[in-house]
Amino acid sequence: MTESPSRGEDADGSSGGDPTEHLSSEETATAASYWRANVRLLLVLLSIWFSVSFGCGILLAPKLNAYTLPGTGFPLGFWFAQQGSIYAFVILIFVYVVLMNRMDRRFGVQED
């Protein structure tokens, strides 16, 4: 979890994304478990992404259209396709940002 102040913050940024920089073995282990946690989070969020659009908005839409969104005149499947999925996408990205920033700090791989 130590900071390496020399890395990547110089003025022209040229050492920043430089692939030739080396990580210590401890850092490599942290990076590997960080990556696994990252992929797990992605899978959860992407399954929500899939369910609201391809699931509720397309595959299940004909069935869901038998119901309306409570309090409105929207057939439910139609609502998911033209409104709900878009709201869900926006929320998904913001949730991802919050969780990832938290995860960066937990693994000590944040940028500053």
């Binding site: 929207f74 057939p75 913001f94 940028e111």
Partner: protein, 620 residues
């Protein structure tokens, strides 16, 4: 003031604003030119990305398309927003950490191959040119319609403006101009939408009115005393007139699925969108700016389907069964049917501009609006709008097109839905002028972003990274400016002389991005095993399949372009999804029996997977 004076005034003020911003934000180095110096705040980047993304088509045509397709139009709504989730979660943070300037940079470095870099350069240039031609055309059309200059003059004026700020400012100039353009286009879209929501459903928020009851000054008339929701009424009207139901559509589910997938994945793979995530200072900022971008896009994308439904309901309510010749006209037709309902004035205005045509098939003087085309092709008017001799018995403009067998008598161009809204809602002239300025903002912002991709591909990927690696920063900047200038001129030429296949090629651009860039970049980040041979084989076959399929149905055998001939019932618009699957499959297979990537690439992958240590984007 009349509409034209207002339009000159508002368009003039917005153009002066864009140019002013461009002069203030001149680029001093290639880094300024390519990635705005890498110091764009995420909120501004989100707004600029939104303006970059929302083209003349999103602004002017999308609501119209949805209006006519109902549920089937959802593919655009989900496709063009869902892609941002993929972008934010799967690509943007890692590409930002990678820290170079372009998509070909990543493909070339990750797969250690000049061939792969060149394939990516060619694909980036091709995709961007197809897009930009459409934008320049859009600029010309808006000028032509609202300022009464020819489409050609309009394109030339648009070219001049883009040239000035793209060549001077590069990404830096473009980014801050796009922030201004976002505000203009959003305001221009929302004002008429709010008013029409009020008139149709009695609530000022279109997204709520969309699911609300039919009430308000226009809504009451259509509801005719009945208490019914807007969508229920619309479905009812559709059923009555023989259209496919509005809320459930008529496309095959597999096709809807595949088109949505191709558009989503294509969105995430389009170079002019990806490049925006190189402009922010940190990985963290790349994540959040994708969030801001989608939020800003969502304002328009959730409003557009509401506007579509309002406009559709109002259109059917206003024209179906209405008598064309109104009491104000010189000689009313005797014994006019239509129960005292007369065609609205806006219908005649748009008929005069050539976007509506009515063919009185049964000669009863009343408009009958049904499923199917009223006549073959686009209207071919007998004379000019002012020519009284070229008008029929009711005073309608006559068309020379051969009529079709069906009962429909009305031709309506889809694009008028957004353009005609302010007029339908009886809004003041300045709102109409605002819509013109909004359309221009949408077209110019997208054109500028695309032109930058083209100039970067030439000066950076082709010259600096491939042909002349020793080129100085100053010379590279000059090359970038020159190629931007040449690209503007080419785009302008394509805008004035559009190749007949522009619409087809847009579907192609998404299929191309979906079946080439997206899998190559995704596997480059998420698979340590993916190597040069796998990636190239995947791109070539994915791209080859998609291209062959689209070319076959869209260019060679147009007459066979029907559902029963399609592979698994998937239209050429959706075939990019299959191309993508082929790309993934072939790449994995080839990579499994060729040797793994080098140790340097291993380290590159390790490095892009953690945010720590991201400097700003750099040139080597």
């Amino acid at each position: 003031m009349d509409v034209q004076t207002w339009t000159f005034l508002i368009v003039g003020v917005t153009f002066a604003l864009y140019i002013g911003i461009a002069i203030k934000t001149r680029a001093g180095s290639t880094k300024d030119f390519y990635v705005a110096g890498g110091g764009v705040p995420p909120l501004a980047n989100g707004m600029a990305t939104a303006a970059d993304w929302m083209s003349a088509a999103s602004f002017l045509s999308m609501a119209g398309i949805i209006s006519f397709k109902g549920y089937d139009g959802s593919v655009y709504l989900m496709g063009w927003t869902g892609g941002y989730v993929l972008l934010a979660l799967l690509l943007a943070p890692y590409l930002r950490k990678f820290g170079r300037f372009t998509v070909p940079d990543f493909v070339g470095d990750r797969y250690e191959s000049t061939t792969a870099r060149l394939v990516a350069v060619v694909a980036a240039i091709f995709v961007s040119f197809t897009y930009v031609a459409g934008q320049m055309r859009g600029v010309g059309v808006v000028f032509g319609r609202f300022l009464e200059v020819s489409v050609e003059t309009g394109v030339v004026i648009g070219m001049g403006v883009v040239l000035l700020y793209a060549v001077l400012g590069g990404m830096k100039g473009i980014t801050y101009t796009q922030v201004a353009q976002y505000c203009v286009l959003m305001f221009a879209f929302m004002v008429p939408a709010v008013f029409i929501a009020l008139m149709m459903t009695g609530t000022p928020i279109p997204q709520i009115g969309f699911g609300g009851m039919l009430q308000g000054s226009l809504g009451d008339g259509i509801a005719n005393g009945e208490s019914i929701s807007l969508l229920a009424k619309l479905d009812g009207l559709h059923e009555e007139l023989g259209f496919a139901p509005y809320t459930s559509g008529s496309k095959a589910m597999i096709d809807v699925f595949c088109i949505t997938m191709a558009l989503m994945v294509g969105t995430a793979g389009l170079p002019h969108v990806i490049i925006r995530f190189y402009t922010v200072p940190k990985v963290k900022d790349a994540r959040i700016s994708a969030g801001w971008a989608l939020l800003f896009i969502a304002f328009l994308y959730t409003t557009a389907p509401a506007v579509a439904a309002f406009a559709r309901t109002n259109l059917i309510g206003a024209v179906e069964g209405a008598t064309y010749r109104s009491p104000e006209d010189k000689a009313p037709v005797e014994a006019a049917p239509g129960e005292g309902k007369f065609a609205p004035t806006w219908l005649k205005n748009w008929e005069n501009s050539g976007l509506i045509a009515w063919l009185d098939k049964d000669g009863d003087g009343a408009i009958r609006y049904r499923q199917g085309a009223a006549f073959e092709g686009k209207p071919d008017y007998v004379g000019e709008a002012g020519d009284e001799a070229a008008r029929g018995a009711s005073g309608e403009r006559l068309v020379a097109n051969p009529p079709t067998e069906n009962d429909n008598e009305l031709y309506i161009d889809r694009d008028i839905m957004v353009l005609a809204n302010p007029e339908i809602a009886g809004l003041p002239n300045w709102v109409i002028a605002l819509v013109a300025a909004g359309g221009l903002a949408a077209a110019l912002s997208t054109a500028a972003g695309l032109l930058l991709v083209i100039s970067t591909a030439v000066s950076h990927d082709l010259l600096k990274r491939t042909l002349v690696p020793n080129i100085s920063d100053k010379k590279e900047l000059l090359a970038a400016r020159l190629s931007a200038a040449v690209a503007v001129v080419c785009a302008g030429y394509l805008g004035i002389h559009p190749p007949g296949f522009v619409a087809e090629v847009v579907a192609f651009a998404f299929g191309l991005a979906a079946s080439s860039f997206f899998p190559a970049i995704l596997m480059g980040i998420f698979s340590r095993r993916m190597n040069r041979q796998g990636a190239i084989a995947g791109m070539v076959l994915g791209l080859g399949f998609t291209t062959a399929y689209i070319v076959y149905f869209k260019f060679l055998h147009l007459e066979q372009n029907r559902a029963e001939n399609w592979f698994l019932g998937i239209s050429p618009e959706g075939i990019g999804s299959v191309g993508m699957v082929i790309n993934f499959g072939v790449a994995a297979l080839v990579a499994s029996f060729t040797k793994p990537p080098s140790a340097e690439v291993e380290e590159l992958i390790t490095s892009i997977r953690v945010p720590k240590g991201a400097g700003s984007a750099s040139r080597h």
